[in-house]
Every structure is written in structure tokens, then in C-alpha cells.
Symmetry: C2
Subunit: 200 residues, 2 copies
DNA sequence: CCTACCGATCGGTAGG
DNA sequence: CCTACCGATCGGTAGG
């Protein structure tokens, strides 16, 4: 089991490392990741693990990227075929609520877990997190703008205010579920979304 | 400067430690607190600092308690004299928004910063955080219930749904300000509160 | 991918 | 409140 492996095997190991690190980070945070712990969990040496990334910060960046891809795959893609505008916006919100209610990762949604951890830590990891959050916001705003311009939502609706309130509902859902173990949180978030996304 | 000090001096040192630890934790998290760093910041030895608390977990609990007291003092007390029910609820929300927009601590609201850090870490620190969050929720619900029963808010208003939405607005405000440095977040939160807390 | 190792720092204790 | 110390672990490097 020692010595160099094939390129394919190395790629597999690397993706295993990132996947496991994502799970750990959802519970302990990105700063709580330690090379020694990950190496032990996966049966690798510390240097064997670190060799895939160079240093810890690069590993953290790869984990953020993997989490961004996973979120996109699990929340957006299942509803990407829905008609643009209001129907798609409604579908994405349902999908988002389902994701936050699921146990895709042991610590819940990766981004909800690391946003407050890194909002005060300048550097490339923070910028990566901000980048994914901003991209998500832009995708949703595009749908909201379309829904307003086609008259699916009331004229004069401010897309950014709408998304502020949707985001708030998702944050409250996450806090309710994870901190207070409140089983009604998903229903409350759905109710907010239902009210916000009503045709005129 | 060495040797035992008076009881008063010791109390002063202790409260200085807790205050500083609260600031650090608002940025680095409660787990990011280290005895060595705090001791150096305050010009103490590690053992001198730790002697006030016994161990790190106890220090973390004292920090949570101090943060709970500070939040109460800065958000609730300034508006405690407002008439119970809807007026008080509105005043508390304004006060809460002002607090989240202020820079009372370098990392922003302590509780916003540590909730996702400890939602998956069982133990007395988590329980202390949950306790303060639940107490806050109960205080607000009392006002909301009163506002509904006196007819200040529409009959049939669900106080818990109302608070879910208020909490969401505050979480979105915090994320907007701290992650995206969005200066419009406070106004958006105020708009949500204004709509939610309208007389029938 | 490994072993062997580095200096720094972690939380905490003994003893004064 | 200090100095002096403990074993464990941190991120990371050298060399293979």
C-alpha cells in the first residue's frame, strides 16, 4: 500500500480527502480541520495527505470549491429544467428547503456553517466563500427579475429585497433546525416563501 | 506586579479577561480562543489567566454569560420602558437592528458568530448558547402574544411564525453586513420588520 | 505515497 | 499571581 500510485489512484485519493474534509468542516468548521486528524481518518500519513495540496489553506480552498459544486448539484440542477422566472424560483426555494432539511452532510449545509466563521478572516478562503454566495444570489436575482418583468410577480417588486427575505428564511430555518432542533422550521420557511412568491 | 493581589483586583482582572475573550471570540470563534494568546494580549502568564477559571471550557461558559448580559444591556434595556406589546416589540427590533449595525464587538454580534460554531458541539457551552437564545425568543414571544391578544396585531397572527421571520431578517442583516459588506442590509431588515409589525 | 523529523503552540499542572 | 514544566498536537519539510 506504500510508494507512488497511478495518476488515477492519486486523483481518487485526493477527491476522497476533499469529500471527507467537507464533512468534517460542516461540523468543526474549516479552521477546525487538521491535517493529522484527516490523515488518521483516511489511513494516510500527514505528509502523504498534504502532498495533494501543498498546504492547509489550499486544502481549505479545494473544500470550498467542492462544497460549491455539491450545493449546485443538489439544489439547482434538480430544478434547472423548470420554466424560467417564477416557476423556477419557486422550485429552487423548495429544493433549497429540502436540502437544508436533509442530512447531506453531518453538520448540515457547509456554507451556513462556515459563513460566520470566515466573515472576519481576510484571505483567499473568505473570497472563495463570498464568490459562491454572490454567484448564488445572482442566479436567483436573474429569475426574480424575469418574474417581475413578465408580470409573474407584482410590478414594483424589488428583487434584492425579495432575496433578502428568502435568504433570511433559509438562515432562520438552518438555525432553528440545528441549534434548537425545531422540527417546525422547514414549514415556517416554506410559508415565508409561499407568501413572497405569489402571483399578483 | 507579581504575587497575589487583592480580591478586588482579582475580580477586575477576571472581568478584563472575559471582556477581551468576548472580543476575540466574536472574530475567531469560541474554539479559536487560546489561553496563551489571551495571556499575552493581557500581559499575564497562562497559569495566571487559567487560575481564574480552572479550564478553557469554563472560560468559554463565562464568556457566553458575559455576552448574554451585554446583549441584554445593549438591546433590551434601552427600550424596556416602552409600553408592552406592539410598541415594545417595534422598539426592540429597532434596537436589535441598531446593535447589529454597530461595532460593539470587532467581529459583530457574539451570538451570531458562535451559533453555527457550536450547534454541532454537544456540551455545556452549547447548552448555554441555546439557553440565551431561547430566553430571548421567549421575551419576544411574550410581547408578540400580548400584541395579538390586545388587537394591536391582526387576530390569527402566529407569534412563532412572526418571530421566525423577524429572526430571519436579523440573520440576513448580519450576513449581508459581515460577509458582503452590504450597507443596504439594515434598511432591508427594517423594511421586513415594518411590514410584519403593522397594526390591523 | 512513506518515515523521520522540525520548532511552535496547545491545554493544563506542580509548587511557590 | 509567577516560573518551570508536562505530553500531545499543530502545520510543514527533507529525503526517499
Amino acid at each position: 500500500m506504500n510508494g507512488r500510485r497511478s495518476v488515477t489512484a492519486a486523483r481518487h485519493t485526493r477527491s476522497q480527502i476533499v469529500r471527507h474534509a467537507m464533512s468534517v468542516a460542516s461540523v468543526e468548521g474549516l479552521e477546525g480541520l487538521t491535517i493529522g486528524r484527516l490523515a488518521q481518518d483516511l489511513g494516510l500519513s500527514k505528509s502523504g495527505l498534504l502532498g495533494h495540496f501543498g498546504d492547509k489553506q489550499t486544502l481549505q480552498q479545494r473544500v470550498v470549491e467542492a462544497a460549491g459544486a455539491q450545493f449546485w448539484r443538489e439544489v439547482w440542477e434538480p430544478v434547472a429544467a423548470t420554466a424560467a422566472g417564477l416557476p423556477r424560483l419557486r422550485a429552487v426555494c423548495r429544493s433549497w428547503i429540502a436540502y437544508l432539511s436533509s442530512d447531506a452532510l453531518p453538520g448540515g449545509c457547509f456554507f451556513m456553517a462556515v459563513v460566520t466563521e470566515f466573515d472576519d478572516r481576510p484571505g483567499p478562503v473568505r473570497e472563495a466563500i463570498v464568490g459562491y454566495a454572490a454567484r448564488w444570489h445572482h442566479e436567483l436575482r436573474r429569475e426574480a427579475e424575469r418574474a417581475v418583468s413578465t408580470g409573474e410577480l407584482p410590478a414594483g417588486t424589488d428583487p434584492d429585497q425579495l432575496l433578502f427575505e428568502v435568504t433570511g428564511a433559509m438562515l432562520a430555518l438552518n438555525a432553528g433546525r440545528r441549534l434548537h432542533r425545531d422540527p417546525t422550521a422547514a414549514g415556517r420557511a416554506a410559508q415565508v416563501v409561499h407568501r413572497l412568491l405569489q402571483a399578483p
